[in-house]
Symmetry: C2
Subunit: 729 residues, 2 copies
């Protein structure tokens, strides 16, 4: 702030009186902090645009392929906080992806020869669409290095399917979908002889793959899957293939991509609906259309220079190519030239000179408006692609490469933010963390019609970032729990699901199946005895229904880890080839009783002579007395809590809670919690009768946990009811 | 802001004149954004306290163990941006950790029976110390589930060593160090019979492990390693062991921890210097002191209630225990009771009632000042642990658990920030990302003497977070490159390092060694031919010297990935059991010529009859002509760039740059770049003579890259010299 003169100071003094001391003081504190931290007024504005207040919700969820990690990043816009890494092509230990049998099976299916690559190179993701709009059901990724495709469910943000491409050894690391997600499309990148041990490079080819999605969806269940048998490929000549996009609206049924060969650069266009109807041959048990047939539905459009990306405009009328200048192609003209090879000038609407080395373009909701990154000029230009005119630009202190506007690839782009990938400025912009630093991207505020501003520099660790996609957060309706006993990878009930009281160990020869349950304070069973060399599977079901009440599970030194979200059943299989005593326990902080969730695996050494079952825990009389005392205290607390609940219930009934739908829903929730608690109550009473004071205490504690949840919901219902009745405090 | 009345508005009108339109406009914009986003004045202050301006540097680096992922998180304070995930106990694909031979060997050494757990459960990390102060050399982690210890070098932020505990199957997931890092100390958690196939639970015990660190350090080289042969353990009775800390200053030589047994809770204290000098027995080839001997140097102090952590005060005089109330023990009194079992009241300085369920305490630089988290009361209390008085508190909207102040575990805590782990409020505070959400922690501003404020909610994905440690960022001096040909895991020259021009393929039977190099635009060799079933190793050396000029490497479908930071040599070994053609390439965006870094692995199928070497790339006459044209253009650019450089050099010489040390250093850098470029120049001239135009072009491009770097540094030197000479623009 400029130095204020004495007159200003007098006026300020008056203002202090008028506005009240505290506000001025607050402002002075802000100024002092800004001065100390070297912030400008622009920084302050950027700070309030991106700061997420407690409990605030981001407007968008963005997905990124990590490039080198094989995992997906989910972050929020505008806070740019990272919420989750989700294992896609690579095992991910936190959620046990690639560690439990269910996700291992899923990954095994991604191999044609029963060997699973542990690594994935994923750049540009895609969201599923309905009528060209994001529907919030699925996301798709391509693993370029290992030629795989993945489907993620956005109901639970888990990977549901990974399949190997039957034709190509490498792919361009991008997934795109047709406007109703009939197909997920992948292209090869570097041409080579198709996958059948052929090594003669003169037989090098390429291929486009159209994976068919069968959509099976209802409320809270997104069970759509790719059906290999209904998918097909299109043989393609040995061009190097690059970025691509799908037609929509005016260009529905078309697919557009970049290709190069012998130092020449092309856009290719394919009428995929026409090709889909053609007769097919088979390669590696996969349908394909030979290029000789397909070529009548294909056009090559020679470009004057190398291009980096192309994007179809939201209405589908134009294909906009990012090259030395921006080349706007007319989709209708392209369509009328199918089967022919033409020059860009034959099918173009026009060009716009943007700057040097345009890497990418993206759209917003404003009419005919797009953005281009002029990499070498360190700027982003807003332009009109119909009237072929620059509108305005923002000069940056980095070289922008790939761009993303929320929903910018759908027919419904939004107009507030733009994310620009920064491949080169991190040395300048970030502190050193050794010889390699994270990926970086910037959030640009594009909400004003006449101005753009770079407002946040985001780091993306464990990644080599290329592409983002972002969706309005509220379009995604995540579930908060599974039906009890669900295999989350299939969405079906697991054959290994186990209910409370049905826990057991089954043995057949050296194969041991442990059917166990997880719930706050208990892993059941608490002791498992096996023989050295046995093949052991822990099939565990999380019985919780409370939100985010996730339990983790591991057995010491056996290196297996599972994450059990409420309702999930998963299985961990290992060979018990180390004899000894191995504690197992919950690895996710789940409640104050987290540390009680512990048990023991006893692996008897080969040649062991003792009798089995001697492992049952023996408590000393002192320990028993202590647990009895704790149990009795807890029963007292349970009684007091029950009184509170009864009081609330009485009040709610007297005031006709059932007339108010939201209050009624809360009450039902509370009653539901108490009903679920019944088995815990039965257990604690049973164990008390048997004088098993430790179990009695732990189950009493468990019952009380349910009770507290019920009381909490009941009190919220009461508060809401009071508000409705005008009895607010 | 309150609605302003007409009088205020008049004054504001005057102010607009006095302060100038733009500032008021800026303020109004900030106000409008705050209104739209629902931000309070407190939020605004928090925003400017945490927002990181472009190019800004965080004051601290914090490290976190991810709990379930086996990787380490590095983030900055106060921006709370995550900079890196580093693989520690679990393979991490981005940096090829657990994928290349060097890191696989490191992980293999972490197994006692040649089986590597792929998972790690790591909670509380430690920084290395010298004289009780953080020295910025190493960090240490303990894997609780798989009983391992890890050493990371803070020179390059890579894991250098992982070792298996020879005695325990599980450990409390914490690492602590002695004041000069003579030892890294681990304790077991759940007692069990020691690791030797024993299954009789009546023989359950515990153990403390003192890993000896041999420190070998010089400028830019931190080669300290744990020496197993000089390490030892202390046998311990079958207590469950929990959080611990090491004495310093007044309590130097002591180790303190929490223990429980039969429903009773203790602090135990060990004079480890005394124990280290005792005679030892051997178990699994590891020295240990039996408890019968050690117990004369051990004391058990019974606590009135269960405790969660204990921390030694910065001066070492007190051991502060977080329990129902805060119990301050007097270290001198503890020391005088070694060999005895006592009550807390016998050795305590006093207690402070803080609130319900105190989970953790931490220190800052203010005299006698500590902070405690009263979990159940949702507050953090600042208190005086010598005068046993509360000072002030901050009420939070979450339940705080573990606490961290930067350098708070050293003898030199800082006084500005506090990080509080939040295990329970994420359901309320974060948008739903399906049934499981990330870990959360909060940044609390404690810089004011009389007030604390919660200013940021940070998400920690792929983690179940317990403990943080933070160090002044500038204490760490990261290297930006390795000496060319370094095995980064040992810090030694790799026997497989390869210099430019020495690339080759060596074969012995079915064992194929590829000695290759990586540099912008080239992977050499560009074609490798092997037979199906060969065991192939790519030994690659990154020849770059430029900052962050990292190359990645993968071979399609073979699922191996390496990260090659400048100077690094690493090896990727696989069985070439799939026949066909497999492109390999650079996976990290490295420059505009990134896509040129490509080659081909040809795996000849079993029974292949053709001759070898037929794979050499054949260019068409058109392609050759195109490359020739590009080459000639580039040579022209090289000449122009040389003119610029010569002009700068002349100017610098004329103005006696050598008088100004920093300018001189820059000029030496620039000359160094040009000297390094010589081999590229020789190559492009050689290939041009041979009319190999593609190679000629790519090497010319390479030469130009060096030239541009040199020119860039030269121009920076000139600018600096101009400033020194008062010739600023």
């Amino acid at each position: 702030m400029k130095r204020t003169n004495w007159l200003t100071q007098s006026v300020l003094a008056a203002l202090i009186f008028l506005l009240g001391m505290s506000e001025i003081a607050a402002q002075e504190t802000v100024d002092a902090v800004m001065k100390e931290r070297g912030l400008t007024d622009k920084d302050k504005l950027a700070a309030v645009k991106t700061f997420m207040p407690r409990g605030g919700r981001d407007e968008y969820f963005a997905l990124v392929g990590t490039g080198n990690s094989g995992t997906m990043i989910i972050y929020g816009i505008p806070s740019m906080r990272i919420y989750k890494y989700v294992g896609v092509f690579t095992p991910e230990p936190w959620q046990g992806y690639g560690f439990d049998d269910e996700s291992q099976l899923l990954l095994k299916k991604s191999s044609l020869d029963n060997r699973i690559p542990n690594y994935g190179n994923m750049w540009f993701p895609a969201f599923s669409e309905t009528g060209g709009k994001y529907d919030g059901k699925y996301a798709f990724f391509t693993d370029g290095s290992n030629a795989r495709v993945a489907l993620l469910g956005l109901d639970d943000f888990e990977t549901k399917q990974v399949l190997s491409n039957p034709i190509m050894n490498n792919l361009f690391p991008q997934a795109v979908v047709t406007p109703n997600t009939e197909y997920v499309i992948q292209t090869g990148q570097f041409p080579h002889p198709w996958k059948n041990k052929e090594t003669d490079m003169s037989k090098a080819k390429n291929a486009l793959t159209f994976w068919f999605l069968e959509r099976i969806e209802k409320e809270g269940e997104h069970k759509g899957r790719i059906i290999k048998e209904k998918s097909f490929a299109v043989e393609f000549p040995p061009y190097v293939l690059d970025y691509n996009d799908v037609g929509k609206g005016a260009s529905d049924g078309m697919f557009f991509g970049l290709a190069s060969k012998d130092g020449k650069y092309y856009v290719y266009a394919v009428d995929y609906k026409k090709v889909a109807g053609m007769d097919k041959l088979m390669f590696n048990n996969f349908d394909y259309v030979p290029f000789d047939k397909a070529k009548s539905a294909v056009s090559f459009i020679e470009l004057p220079a190398k291009a980096s990306t192309l994007k179809v405009s939201p209405d589908g009328k134009y294909v906009i190519v990012a090259a030395d200048e921006v080349v706007v192609l007319d989709a209708a003209k392209i369509k009328s030239n199918l089967g022919k090879n033409v020059k860009a000038s034959d099918v173009q609407h026009g060009t716009v000179a943007i700057g040097n080395n345009v890497v990418d373009v993206t759209f917003d909701y404003r009419k005919n408006t797009a953005y281009a990154s002029a990499h070498d000029d360190s700027k982003i230009v807003r332009f009109d692609y119909v009237n072929l005119k620059k509108k305005d630009e923002v000069k940056l202190d980095f070289k922008p490469s790939y761009l993303m506007t929320p929903q910018g690839l759908s027919s419904e782009p939004h107009s507030n933010y733009l994310v620009a990938v920064d491949k080169e400025s991190y040395v300048k912009n970030l502190p050193s963390t050794g010889p390699v630093r994270p990926s970086v991207q910037h959030l640009i505020d594009i909400s004003a019609d006449d101005e753009m501003a770079d407002i946040y520099t985001m780091t993306l660790p464990q990644a080599n970032v290329y592409g983002n996609v972002a969706i309005l957060r509220t379009t995604i309706k995540p579930i908060i729990r599974y039906p009890t006993g669900t295999n989350s990878r299939t969405g079906e009930p697991s054959p290994f699901r186990t209910l409370a009281g049905k826990e057991r160990v089954e043995r057949e020869g050296n194969r041991v199946h442990v059917f166990g349950t997880l719930i706050r304070s208990h892993i059941v069973p608490e002791i498992v005895e096996v023989n050295e060399g046995d093949i052991v599977t822990f099939h565990l079901t999380n019985l919780e229904r409370a939100e985010d009440e996730t339990h983790g599970f591991t057995v010491d030194t056996y290196g297996k880890h599972g994450s059990f979200e409420p309702g999930k059943t998963a299985s961990l299989t290992f060979v018990a080839d180390r004899a000894g005593v191995f504690p197992y326990y919950c690895t996710e902080f789940c409640s104050a009783l987290h540390l009680e969730m512990e048990g023991i695996l006893l692996v008897r050494p080969k040649g062991y002579k003792g009798k089995t079952g001697e492992m049952a825990e023996k408590l000393t009389p002192e320990q028993l007395a202590k647990y009895k005392e704790q149990y009795e205290k807890k029963v007292e607390v349970i009684k007091q809590t029950a009184d509170v609940i009864n009081g609330v219930v009485k009040y709610l009934k007297e005031n006709h809670y059932e007339k108010y739908p939201y209050v009624k829903a809360l009450v039902e929730d509370a009653v539901d919690q108490l009903n679920k608690a019944k088995f815990a109550e039965e257990n604690y009473k049973k164990y008390a009768k048997e004088k098993k004071w430790k179990d009695a205490f732990l189950w009493a504690e468990q019952y009380w946990q349910y009770q507290v949840k019920a009381a909490d919901v009941g009190l919220r219902a009461k508060k809401l009811l009071d508000e409705k009745l005008g009895k607010e405090e």
